[in-house]
Symmetry: C2
Subunit: 342 residues, 2 copies
């Protein structure tokens, strides 16, 4: 990137939707210094989380963006057809495009030709790097302490929890690093591998490589962004590969307070949290048994008294420290992650 | 394939190695009618499991092969460099090439050009089909009974067990189908998807698609070829995605008698079998709890009395029917899979 990164976030049709706007929200919260505007042609609002909300690329030009970021994560990662026109508008408007979906834009002949014509770059955040392979075992010998977020479901805030924990740890003087494993984390941190987009056999190998890069970047405590859930009918394979490849010393288990089903599907009843704690500990890499040290509770659908009650109930049920780090700060959870003196 | 399939099995350097010759051995055992010779330039033998053993492609021509099958499965699925010359010999010798490694040959410019020049076809058995996505839920509604082999480790015979069970079931008049999920299964059955080679997010979706194809092929009882192991440090993600996507009604747990470590690595101590039974049952799709109905024991390293003793000990430990279906027949295991009258 030779020019400064001034992002127009493409939140087309989704700026009001907390689930599908995950990438947009993540960058807005953890990399606001890079954002100049948000685009959603279907919204009538004039601002979004303090940023100007525009309806067209033309309208965005007054804020001098240099790149557009695809801000939605659709089920399965495919592009809705209507989006192609918007991407072409961005390219014609002189913007680079950063894309985190499975469907790549840099290898799309039409978009690539248009990008060449207009001298802009197409960056696929999810494109797997070449040369991946299975783990080497270096995930067990690097010397850093690795903490992985795991969850009872997808899209409940594992990345956010990792970012909040890392920020709090860093403020305490820990030499910590956030290790990004998905497109939003990559968009925020500026490096990483989207482990759900690699060849299935190399999930664990990619996770090992990420952890080693976190160490190279100076991390003595690594906060690895979790993906999916061991319970999720579509994404559990990625979750287990990430667990075994990143070889965490400890987990933080993320859960949305009161959730009765996985994937919002009545066919998938949510097990008790204490059972989930046990299941993750048992599914640890045999060479590195890991414990759940804390529960990060997502209480966004509750009012404050109900949230505090949910936290207390979770602590009573699991016997572990619990908190909502977004709402109440990450202090209590990071306290629980202090390496034991033993 | 317009011409008959007369296979030269390329077992280069591995014809004596039971672990790495998995693809070769599978086709030799379950599709012998397609094999005309085996090639291994490093062997001094003249025959291999009843087939002529040759050292060069020239020497093989007397048996009139139409295709060469890459018969080895290396760790990580990459081609040893020396193999390229052998593949070129095959192509120059007028043979199609079937390849189950991760490294594709059909997209290799040099090999593809040579193949065009000599009018032969390069088939990558592991190449993922286009259009894969996440599961639709049709894995829960198709009406067939699905039985998945799972294992305490890789390369201990899950595919073989599925094939033996299916053959026995068919001989009893069940409308059964073997559902191939890896390159050897595909080489044997002539259809399938190598689930370890798909994009990680689509493992479960690919597994669902395979099960539905098994139903379309007339299967009322599906024997799905298992992959990897929930305990394996590299391949566990594929295993869990396959479990959740194929949504089995029941498991057959495969284990190598006496194995003390996973992946032959002392850092990975093998848990007790009864714990493995419990772990697989707990990791079932929440919408379809599945039980382990039998243990398939690989006793190839034991003499017969020791094998019978291992079977008896396994039954005592787990309370489940156990047997080595390759050595003693699949009858007892298939008895355990009869749908209950309840």
């Amino acid at each position: 990137m030779l020019r400064p990164r001034r992002l127009l976030i493409l939140a087309e049709g989704r700026s009001g939707d907390p689930h599908y706007g995950k990438t947009a929200r993540g960058v807005l919260r953890y990399r606001p210094q890079d954002v100049v505007a948000v685009l959603d042609s279907e919204s009538s609002a004039t601002e979004h989380e303090g940023f100007p909300l525009v309806r067209t690329v033309d309208e965005a030009q007054q804020y001098e963006p240099t790149a557009a970021l695809v801000g939605v994560a659709t089920q399965g990662g495919r592009f809705p057809p209507a989006w192609r026109e918007l991407l072409k508008d961005c390219i014609r408007g002189g913007l680079d495009v950063e894309n985190g979906l499975h469907e790549f834009i840099s290898t799309d002949p039409e978009l690539a030709a248009l990008a060449r014509e207009h001298g802009v770059e197409l960056r696929d955040l999810r494109m797997a790097p070449p040369g991946l392979n299975v783990p080497t075992g270096a995930n067990l010998t690097h010397g850093a302490r690795t903490i992985l977020t795991v969850g009872s479901d997808c899209a409940i805030g594992k990345m956010t929890v990792s970012l909040e924990l890392e920020r709090e740890a860093r403020s305490r003087g820990w030499r910590s690093e956030f290790v990004p494993t998905g497109q939003t984390g990559i968009a925020i941190a500026g490096w990483g591998i989207s482990v759900d987009a690699v060849v299935a056999d190399f999930i664990a190998g990619a996770a090992e490589q990420l952890v080693l890069e976190g160490v190279e970047r100076g991390g003595e405590v690594l906060f690895v962004e979790g993906q999916g859930s061991l319970l999720h009918p579509a994404y559990s394979g990625v979750t287990l590969g990430l667990i075994h490849g990143s070889a965490p010393h400890a987990y933080v288990l993320c859960h949305k307070a009161g959730e009765r089903y996985v994937d919002e599907n009545e066919l998938f009843p949510m097990p008790p949290l204490s059972e989930l704690v046990d299941l993750h500990e048992r599914m640890s890499l045999l060479a590195r048994p890991a414990r759940v040290l804390a529960i990060a509770l997502n209480t966004r659908d509750l009012d404050e008294p109900a949230a505090r009650q949910a936290v207390a109930e979770t602590e009573a049920e699991t016997g572990l420290p619990a908190d909502d780090p977004v709402r109440f700060g990450a202090g209590k959870l990071v306290d629980a992650l202090e390496p034991r003196s033993s």
